[in-house]
Amino acid sequence: MPRFLSPLANVQPTVYLVVAGAVFLLVGSLDSARFASLTVGGVGVGAAYGSLALALVLIYRATHVINFAQGELAMLTTYIAYQLVQWGLSYWEAFFATLAIAFVLGTAIQVTIIRPVQHRSVIGTVIVTVGLFILIDGIASWRWGGIAYAQLPSPFGFGAWEVGGVPIQHLYAGMFGIVLASVLLVWALFRFTKIGLGMRAAALRPAAASLAGVRVDAMLALGWGFAAVLGAVAALMYEPSQFSGLTPTLMQTALVYAFAAAVLGGLESPAGALVGGLAIGVFLNMLAGYAPQVVSLEVPFAFAALLATLLIKPSGLFGQSQVQRV
């Protein structure tokens, strides 16, 4: 159909889908308090998946590498926060110190471990990130694995507000708020600052960016730093919601969900990663709430979502075909 016949042709179907999903959740929540409380929990945990997925997307956009170590790096920073709290820092002091450490750690890993291999091949770099996964896991297990029950205090407590008979846990509201704030900060950094413009240019066209004077290698290192910060936010927010406490395996299933979220949203799309994370979080929470007998199938369900996306729309919900003339 010619575009001028349809005034809504410019609006992507994805927008309808997302709005429809939101309306569905809203109506369901008004109808049933149980549905509402499952939605709240799903949105809280989903925000953490979304933040981790966004970290994956940042690195993927710049280098077309999936960083398999993203979750483990996030887990490591959570142990660092734990250690800082043990040493007497308050939660929020430890939180911000950990984000700074995560940034330095991410940048340092890129410079020392990734940079020497990144120009050889994408698959080689991916394998190095798998090695990094094992290395970080080993370090955390060796240093902190023996602790019987480690836990980071929840900064928001375990209270809840009552809204129309539906409990909204401070924990979930806090998770969502902190993740949203950090995502907006990172977005603003990329969108409005010169260094952000340099990072986008380096990711889009490294050769042309370097001709404009952008130091592409430095931008990639910064990208790893910001990804590590987003991962740290995800893990710090995620940990108090888990009954297992802090373990070296904390982020392993979360990483699977973040993969699913990133693919669902379209690997190139930051907004898609966040929406994908929320969708996966709500979906899995509903699954656990309404079908507890299949709760051990959560991971396979996440894989099914990933597979379905790849089969039906490989570019994901927010994947766009580029406008380009030659």
Binding site: L197, G198, A208, A212, V214
Partner: protein, 235 residues
């Protein structure tokens, strides 16, 4: 007149393939110099050697300084703006962001720079917020040129500006390059298939063949040369 750029016995290779076998050439300050030659002669590689986007050996002196191992970002910071073949426009960014990238190596406001550049490309000013990929091919080539000029370069390296563009646009691009050269004293090293246009704009030219300089001279001399007329000017 001062020599701005001097190449002495420059070699370059892509892996095992030798693309330049000892090229020597010079660009005087304020001059437009053309590099002509058949496909695969090493014209593009010569520009890449200067901007550091290909491994090279030999001596390159720019503005009194040996370039040594400076990469593309380093060359840009020294005042070399390279507009590569295929334009190098960031099609996913807006027109304004593309121009902003031109001033990436400088601190402070770029407003006055952009205003000055827009006097040469007036149509760009209404399109600042437009995605660069939605511009036509010719407009993208001009945007690439505008971005390079925001860099305030001492030397512009221009690779095949006519590639894939309608003749009227090509003439317009060369007109702007000449204007920048005359009004702003911009030195230009241009690689071009269209020898007519290139020799019209340039004061001096080199002919590359199989990675070596086969011939050089003023534009008038080259235009009068029989072999040039036969191979490149179609007489």
């Amino acid at each position: 007149m001062k020599t701005l750029l001097e190449l002495e016995d420059v070699e370059a290779r892509y892996g095992p393939i030798h693309a330049l076998h000892g090229v020597s050439l010079a660009v005087q300050e304020g001059a437009i110099v053309a590099v002509l030659g058949p496909n695969g002669a090493g014209k593009t590689t010569t520009l890449r050697a200067v901007s550091g986007t290909v491994r090279r050996s030999g001596r390159i002196v720019f503005d009194g300084k040996a370039l040594g191992r400076a990469g593309p970002a380093g060359a840009a910071r020294l005042g070399i703006a390279h507009v590569p073949e295929g334009r190098g426009t960031f099609s996913e960014l807006t027109v304004w962001e593309n121009l902003r990238l031109g001033a990436y190596t400088r601190r402070g406001s770029i407003k006055s720079d952009v205003e000055r550049v827009l006097t040469y490309f007036p149509w760009l000013s209404d399109r600042r917020r437009q995605q660069a990929g939605t511009l036509s091919g010719g407009e993208q080539q001009m945007l690439a040129l505008a971005r390079a000029f925001v860099q305030r370069p001492k030397l512009l390296l221009l690779d095949e500006p006519s590639l894939g563009l309608a003749p009227v646009l090509v003439a317009e691009i060369f007109r702007i390059v000449r204007e920048l050269n005359e009004k702003e004293g911009l030195s230009v090293l241009v690689v071009e298939q269209n020898a007519h246009l290139a020799l019209q704009a340039a004061q001096f030219g080199y002919v590359l063949e199989a990675g070596e300089i086969a011939l050089s001279g003023t534009s008038a001399e080259l235009r009068a040369d029989e072999s040039i007329q036969r191979s490149y000017l179609g007489y």
